[in-house]
Symmetry: C2
Subunit: 120 residues, 2 copies
Amino acid sequence: MRFSKQRELIQHIVQGTNSHPTAYWIFNKAKKKISNISMGTVYRNLNKLNNDGVIKIFYDNNIARYDWNTVAHDHLKCNKCGKITDINMHTKELQKKVWNQYKFEADNIEITISGICNNH
Amino acid sequence: MRFSKQRELIQHIVQGTNSHPTAYWIFNKAKKKISNISMGTVYRNLNKLNNDGVIKIFYDNNIARYDWNTVAHDHLKCNKCGKITDINMHTKELQKKVWNQYKFEADNIEITISGICNNH
DNA sequence: ATTAATGCAAATCGTTTGCAGCGGC
DNA sequence: GCCGCTGCAAACGATTTGCATTAAT
């Protein structure tokens, strides 16, 4: 076995949802398979997976969320139901614009749009 | 006196810098004028000023920063020097686009672009 | 036997809150 | 005397870390 079963489980959980889960949500889900798994292990593995480029961390206000989708994209967040939806705002164009206007070499563009989603 | 001197000082500090300061930075600056000011007072007033629309809070990863500029704008963050610069990415256009494509009523658009600034 | 990763608990960081006391009308 | 605001200290939620133990080769 190349990786610990804890790490494989955590990776699996993140890659199996579109819900942009928090560490706490992942921890609870993981406990159903490995009942004595600890929060420290969850965080250590999430950080490792993020550093290895397997998953991507982003921040929703001041709390960390984890995303299986590592390619550049953006988020819509509904203030009523809390749902976070993936969208694409053509960040390549923004990247060029930022270079032309400000001579700034962008390597990460985060667009988070909050408001009311189409279910409300 | 309409407001406490603590509140006036805190508002003054935020409105007197372009550095997008953290609460801790503001606290240290405030201590030079009111040496026994407390962190609780700083946070209470920052939240109040934010709710009153006098200043605007935003999050840099998982920590709060405070901005005197309350009109919609975006940020460039340099990964080398940490400097945060104000820019304008025409969010009105994005707002329309999000409505047309996703039927999502945007009321806040946060664009944070990280990379290397023109001093490096 | 070595090395990496674990569970647990304590520590840390940023932020909020309860409370008794103070300041301005 | 009232009400809002303060300083202080304790509490809080999210995350990290030290350490002794375990798991995998």
